[in-house]
């Protein structure tokens, strides 16, 4: 009964929405999240729930695949490092609110030590420990030896390496050009650009949350919601035919999910205007063009009005527009996902003649 409810609620629409809400809530109530009590309580809660879930044979069979074990480890590490940073930030925010220095700025923490041997020794030991870990890993989880490669056959489900499963999940909602080239390119370029876009000196050398709310929130949104969470979905909740399966649901290759997806042009011309698709490709895709250009440029005045002045004064117009473009690019993913779930939208702009589909 509970398991069925969990299966139902973990469908992408509900779990993604719930994750976004939880994410925003936890940033809103950083005074609760950033305490040791909360961190410990959440850890105990997660461990108890996980322990209960592991007793289910279907769930266990999925998580115990050698490819999926790194993701369990990854979850623990991401949970730990995110919470730790928020906790430290919250501690400093409290100190700053009391008019004190951040902990890192206190005299005993400003004392300097030599990189050699202090840092180099630590690095050496970390390197040795990582090597030992990898050797033990390689001994226990053997790489499978499969049949000779066959270009006319693909395993079902065909999954990317675990660190790319977020990308593969993204590809469900986008054309390969978008999700495979443009968006990953934007991620890489955007991450490289951050030090040049971000001219705010606050938070340099010490943890803080209050002073860097927007920067931390937007980074964590892209990292936790759009990357880590999608890896979870792609790993644990996608089975044969890339169909969605709940955590306790048997991977039945014949599960039928109705997902007739249609393009925006078809929705507008056929459903709304009751005519056939126009022959001219530009007329056919006129609505898609309007939506795409409206999203990229039409929203600017609105954004400017609400957040423009303050930011442009602080960071300059060019930095500001690049940042807005990157944010819009990032937000296009959740927007497209919701459009797919709500109105079965395949492509806003569909020009397969030119391999251009957005």
């Amino acid at each position: 009964m509970i398991k069925e409810a969990i299966n139902y609620l973990s469908s992408p629409l509900y779990s993604f929405t719930a994750f976004i809400v939880l994410f925003l809530l936890s940033l809103k109530r950083i005074d609760i999240v950033g305490t040791k009590k909360f961190g410990l309580g959440l850890l105990v809660f997660v461990l108890v729930v996980f322990g209960w879930m592991v007793t289910d044979p279907v769930f266990f069979s999925v998580i115990s695949l050698p490819d999926n074990i790194p993701i369990i480890i990854l979850n623990g590490l991401v949970f730990w490092s995110t919470w730790f940073a928020l906790y430290k930030g919250h501690q400093n925010d409290l100190r700053i609110a009391r008019g004190e220095q951040p902990i890192e700025g206190s005299p005993e923490n400003r004392e300097k030590v030599w990189a050699w041997p202090n840092l180099v020794y630590t690095e050496l030991f970390c390197g040795i420990l990582c090597t030992v870990f990898l050797i033990v890993w390689a001994i226990f989880f053997k790489a499978p030896l499969e049949e000779p490669a066959n270009p006319t056959w693909a395993p079902n489900p065909a999954k990317a390496p675990w660190y790319f499963l977020g990308l593969q999940e993204m590809l469900v909602y986008f054309d390969p050009w978008m999700a495979g080239v443009v968006l990953p390119g934007l991620i890489v370029v955007g991450l490289i650009a951050i030090p040049f876009l971000d001219v705010n000196p606050k938070g340099n050398g010490y943890y803080t949350f209050k002073e860097r709310k927007f920067a931390i929130a937007s980074f964590l949104f892209g990292w936790l919601v759009l990357w880590i969470f999608l890896i979870q979905v792609g790993t644990f909740l996608r089975g044969p035919n890339w169909t969605f399966y709940g955590p306790f649901e048997y991977w039945d290759a014949h599960k039928v999910v109705a997902e007739n997806n249609i393009n925006l042009s078809e929705i507008m011309w056929i459903k709304l205007f009751n005519t056939s698709l126009p022959k001219n490709i530009l007329v056919r895709e006129i609505f898609g063009l309007i939506v795409v250009f409206g999203y990229l440029f039409g929203l600017l005045p609105l954004i400017m009005k609400k957040w423009g002045k303050n930011y442009i004064d602080r960071m300059g117009a060019v930095r500001y527009y690049i940042m807005i473009f990157l944010v819009l690019g990032m937000m296009s993913l959740p927007i497209k996902m919701y459009l797919r779930w709500f109105i079965n939208l395949k492509y806003i702009l569909a020009m397969p003649e030119f391999e251009l589909n957005l």
Binding site: N156, N241, W242, E353
Partner: protein, 167 residues
């Protein structure tokens, strides 16, 4: 005096040394690059032929036939008096869809694209239908499938001569 002249270079000598150095370096690099380029083209390629004989049209039942899928990557589809050769490469990202007879559809294991038996895409992210290969009959009446020529639906090529044979 003469020793000094030997140990120091004048401007002209310096440039000739520089030129020799660069030419040598350029030649070595070009040679290495050409070796790498040559390495990209293997001596022997174990690939199925791009065209093959696929038996007589009467050998095929109505609907999707999988006998050439493994090995040649072609589905033969017979319906309403037409016989076509379908590519088995998903138009989304090039995975190999699975034919699901029970559901009567092709379903891609990579991102969940689905196609009707005739190759029209209807679910998942696939932006266009499966491509079709050139198909014709030889004088004996056997089917020749030629994978070098592709017919795409969205370009209106499925009704061109060569995209199908009448049976």
């Amino acid at each position: 005096m003469s020793d000094d002249a030997k140990t120091s270079l004048n401007r002209r000598e310096f440039f000739s040394f520089l030129a020799v150095g660069w030419i040598t370096f350029g030649a070595a690099t070009a040679g290495f690059a050409s070796l790498i380029f040559r390495f990209l083209y293997p001596n022997v390629v174990f690939e199925p032929a791009m065209d093959f004989l696929a038996g007589f049209p009467d050998d095929y039942p109505e609907g999707v036939d999988e006998r050439w899928k493994n090995g040649f990557g072609v589905w033969i589809y017979k319906k309403d008096g037409r016989l076509v050769a379908m590519s088995n490469i998903c138009t989304h990202l090039g995975c190999i869809p699975t034919w699901l007879p029970a559901e009567s559809k092709f379903k891609c294991p990579c991102h969940g694209s689905g196609y009707y038996p005739n190759g029209i895409n209807f679910e998942g992210p696939a932006p266009r239908p499966l491509e079709r290969y050139k198909i014709s009959l030889n004088p004996e009446g056997k089917i020749i499938v030629d994978k070098t020529k592709v017919f795409r639906y969205e370009k209106g090529e499925w009704n061109i001569d060569g995209a199908y044979i009448e049976v």
